[in-house]
């Protein structure tokens, strides 16, 4: 019984990881739609409701989105901070991408609810 549970846990953890991978870009864009944030703030906002993004994955993702012009960065040395922080905000391209991804996500979620959650 215990073995069966562990095997099933291992099988679903890979699948869970794939789900998070697919959602991470939308999560970052959605967090930045709330306003300007630096890396740690994005991480805390994304992981508040449950671990959605890994620290090791966040920064390469921010770096790529910045290079693609989806987000805009600026450095700031805040009062009381020992190091400058890199703040990000959405560009107009990023806002457009977020709208498109959000629409796709809502449709996907609705279909999944109908398909999976209604089946008992």
């Amino acid at each position: 019984m215990a073995n069966g549970f562990n095997r099933s846990g291992m099988e679903t953890s890979g699948w869970q990881s794939q789900l998070r991978k697919g959602a991470s870009e939308l999560v970052v864009l959605a967090v930045l739609a709330e306003g300007e944030r630096y890396g740690l703030q994005v991480l805390e906002a994304a992981n508040g409701p449950g671990g959605l993004i890994a620290e090791g994955a966040l920064y390469p993702l921010l770096n790529r989105l910045e290079r693609e012009g989806k987000i805009i960065a600026r450095w700031s040395l805040d009062d009381g901070a020992s190091h400058p922080r890199k703040y990000y905000r959405l560009s107009s391209d990023g806002e457009r991408l977020l709208q498109e991804m959000r629409a796709i996500w809502v449709e996907f979620r609705t279909n999944m609810e109908r398909m999976v959650e209604s089946v008992r």
Partner: protein, 201 residues
């Protein structure tokens, strides 16, 4: 003593990260280093165990750096690089991916055909009698014939073979390059899926 230990561990991580990022443009490398330094310093301010947890969460510096470098390699290749660099990147990935091998091989064939057609255009000027299109035993023979024209009917195209060969050379070049860029974009998407949003549970 603890403070020195914390600073030392942080510096050690950043030094290793810097080394692992050495293939990136220096400005980008400096920016990434500064951002990660700031991230770890903020964690370190919460204590030794918070720094340890943050270092663990980022992963070993060389693996963490790979996520940045892979994106740069492929997006740079897709957007800016010459076809030669594209082909090199594709062939470099060929040992790890069947798709990269097939795409790289097919593109190489297209480029070789492109070169052959370009060579035909040049040879037509140098030795007109050996280059052209002939009907030989009911089949059309198109190309350069070593040792004189083939036996059979008269040459069909004359000097029109030059624009035709140039056109074919261009078409093969464009097809090879489109194939490479399409393939590189596909690999970039796969690399991103591997390296972004990853949270191993």
């Amino acid at each position: 003593m603890t403070t020195v230990g914390l600073a030392g561990r942080l510096e050690d991580y950043i030094r290793r990260l810097d080394w692992a990022l050495r293939d990136l443009p220096s400005e980008d490398r400096r920016n990434i280093k500064a951002e990660i330094n700031s991230h770890l310093a903020e964690r370190a301010a919460q204590g030794s165990s918070a720094l340890d947890a943050a270092v663990l969460a980022l992963g070993p510096p060389d693996r963490f750096a790979r996520a940045f470098v892979e994106n740069y390699e492929l997006s740079g290749a897709v957007n800016r690089a010459s076809p030669t660099n594209l082909l090199l990147v594709m062939l470099l990935h060929a040992s790890r991916s069947v798709a990269a091998f097939l795409i790289g091989f097919a593109a190489l064939i297209f480029y070789l055909f492109s070169l052959a057609f370009a060579l035909m255009a040049v040879l037509k000027i140098i030795t007109p009698a050996h280059v052209g299109a002939w009907i030989n035993d009911g089949a059309v023979e198109f190309g350069a014939h070593y040792g004189g024209p083939p036996p059979g009917g008269a040459e069909l195209l004359g000097y029109w073979v030059i624009p035709l060969a140039v056109l074919l050379a261009l078409a093969c070049y464009i097809l090879g390059t489109l194939l490479l860029r399409g393939g590189a974009r596909r690999m970039l998407r796969r690399a991103r899926a591997r390296t972004t949003g990853l949270r191993e549970t």
